[in-house]
Symmetry: C2
Subunit: 354 residues, 2 copies
């Protein structure tokens, strides 16, 4: 039975990526060796790393614009720390749109003053604050483009002089943006880019070198840049599978095509959430995430019946995060629209049963 | 043609591990899903993490002795930083036996005074210093059990009251030791334990909480312990493949059996290095590593001929590190003695040609 994987992350990746990824473990490019047993300094793996770094910039439209790409370890959680360690001299501005922003703020406070420009905590983060003021004297502004847990997504990013740092873990490579408006973008791989265990960091080199503290080697972007993302042994296999996924994105029309598919999937699901009286959306309509749709039953007594319907249909990972409850449908790049049709069908079946 | 993989790391893992690892990518335990696309909070993956943590302690004989195991990201290089961040109040003692010790010392100096108890730098780290004094007032003593680059290995560890911290990246699970003499052991997975991308940390909880500085969440052992090694998304697949490798060690007789095999392999190779007039060992005989044998040609003009011989025999990864030159045969747990016989045979062929 075909599975429809709505997991919020780690999550679905393209089936052809899984096939090539498995082949690479048994015999990488007919070398007679596994991709997991070759040196990270071998020509074969250096090629993987360099192609992954370059293709990331290509897809984002940032090639030859002063940006470099790194594949680091530690996830976005390590970037909460590294961004502040490297960039926060005195004061930084943070937009608080949920759990991950809150965690980023906590780490940044170890290194300087954090000015929270706005927060949507008053309504359990079900919207994106707007019309906030960013002080002119901040070292940078930090925001989270998509809030996996609450199902909200920033549609318009503020303009400013200070560097813009953005956690794009859950929507990178999913929609077209003018990425040159950002000075540092980071993203844990395990949504649209690859398996858990590697983190893409794309940054403008000219934002570095402005803090006075000594930065430990592993936390220092300059050190990683100087060593072409190979200061120490990288997460070889996670970078390899990320490269396979990036190639799949490119071969399937790049970010523009991903965005079109993602909008179609989200439209289909949100239309049903709004039409079907048994469901209501959690996030404010204008701030709804195209990646993660959060919704609840209007009548909690139907939970058992609905859970049986979607589980019987081969759907996996639909339970909402404990902070929100209800359901969360994560519709990353690799999720087929057929899977959304199956989910919508179970929602209609619940209505027919009622 | 069968490959004989002498890569220093990432390196050979058991063939059956590769087979099961590839199967897990296509269909994990008949779930219809890839191990890479399931949530790290799913029961299936929580089981993997818990079994890997527990089996690590079992194999080391540290179960129920006040130790906990963590699987973190960032490699040993991140542990150079984390050990000092968490344990270094005023002064720590370090034994300098090579490149990795030197790097650990560099990071520790950001957090306090580092007293280098001894160094073998005077002879390009070809021996292990002995009879050094460790001051009684240090927060901990740090050493590197096996020096991958130089091919030396500590056979006797000093006794002391202060906590002993040991980087066992390149020989963990390869030999029997009284592991309860150590208070914190760390090891990047990519030698005897699994693929690159995860790092085992085994520590006694009572050594924590003795420094006053604020420790960022991702660098704080206490935070990772409280969250059972799932503070943030772990390197799911690297932990899974590590578990497969740990099971292989257990099913093949545990560390005792690994040590026996490893000693047989090392004896065979070192005997040939000592017998064959065309070769000389790099490390002092008494400090030779069972994992990494470093050796040079006595007549450099034979380099081309020898390189052709071993490459034609299907041997991979035999070139020495640039700091030492010559050759390095890394004979980790998964390397079969047949591969050592093939290498010894090429060394004899070179002699016969001469």
């Amino acid at each position: 039975m075909k599975k429809h994987n709505y997991s919020a992350g780690p999550c679905i990746l393209p089936q052809e990526v899984f096939k090539e990824a498995a082949q690479g473990i048994l015999n990488y490019q007919d070398s007679g060796l596994s991709i997991m047993e070759i040196s990270h300094r071998s020509a074969a793996f250096v090629d993987v790393m360099e192609e992954a770094r370059s293709l990331s910039l290509d897809l984002l439209g940032l090639q030859d614009k002063g940006y470099k790409a790194l594949f680091l370890q530690g996830g976005a959680s390590m970037q909460f720390l590294m961004t502040a360690y490297n960039l926060l001299n005195k004061k930084a501005a943070y937009l608080n749109t949920g759990t991950w922003s809150t965690k980023a703020i906590k780490e940044a406070k170890l290194f300087g003053e954090v000015f929270e420009v706005a927060s949507s905590k008053d309504k359990n983060f079900n919207y994106i604050p707007k019309n906030y003021q960013i002080p002119s004297d901040v070292d940078y502004f930090h925001c989270t483009s998509n809030n996996t847990i609450f199902g909200t997504q920033i549609k318009d990013f503020p303009q400013m002089d200070a560097p813009v740092v953005c956690d794009m873990s859950s929507d990178i490579f999913s929609r077209e943006l003018d990425f040159s408006k950002f000075d540092l973008i980071y993203a844990g791989a395990q949504k649209n880019m690859g398996p858990a265990g590697t983190t893409l960091v794309v940054l403008k080199e000219d934002i570095l070198g402005k803090v006075e503290r000594e930065i430990p080697s592993m936390l220092n972007y300059k050190v990683h840049l100087e060593k072409d993302s190979m200061f120490n042994t990288p997460a070889v296999y996670a970078v390899y599978v990320s490269l396979l996924t990036l190639k799949w994105i490119k071969n399937n029309g790049g970010i523009a095509a991903m965005e079109k598919r993602n909008n179609e999937k989200a439209d289909l699901l949100y239309k049903e959430i709004d039409r079907n009286p048994l469901f209501k959306g959690f996030a404010e309509v204008e701030d709804r995430s195209v990646m993660n749709a959060t919704f609840n039953l209007t009548d909690e007594s139907k939970k058992e019946a609905f859970d049986k319907l979607w589980k019987d249909a081969g759907i996996n990972g639909l339970n909402g995060h404990r902070s929100v409850g209800g359901y969360r449908a994560s519709m990353y790049n690799a999720l087929d629209i057929e899977s959304v049709k199956v989910l919508v069908e179970t929602m209609r079946q619940l209505e027919q049963q009622s």
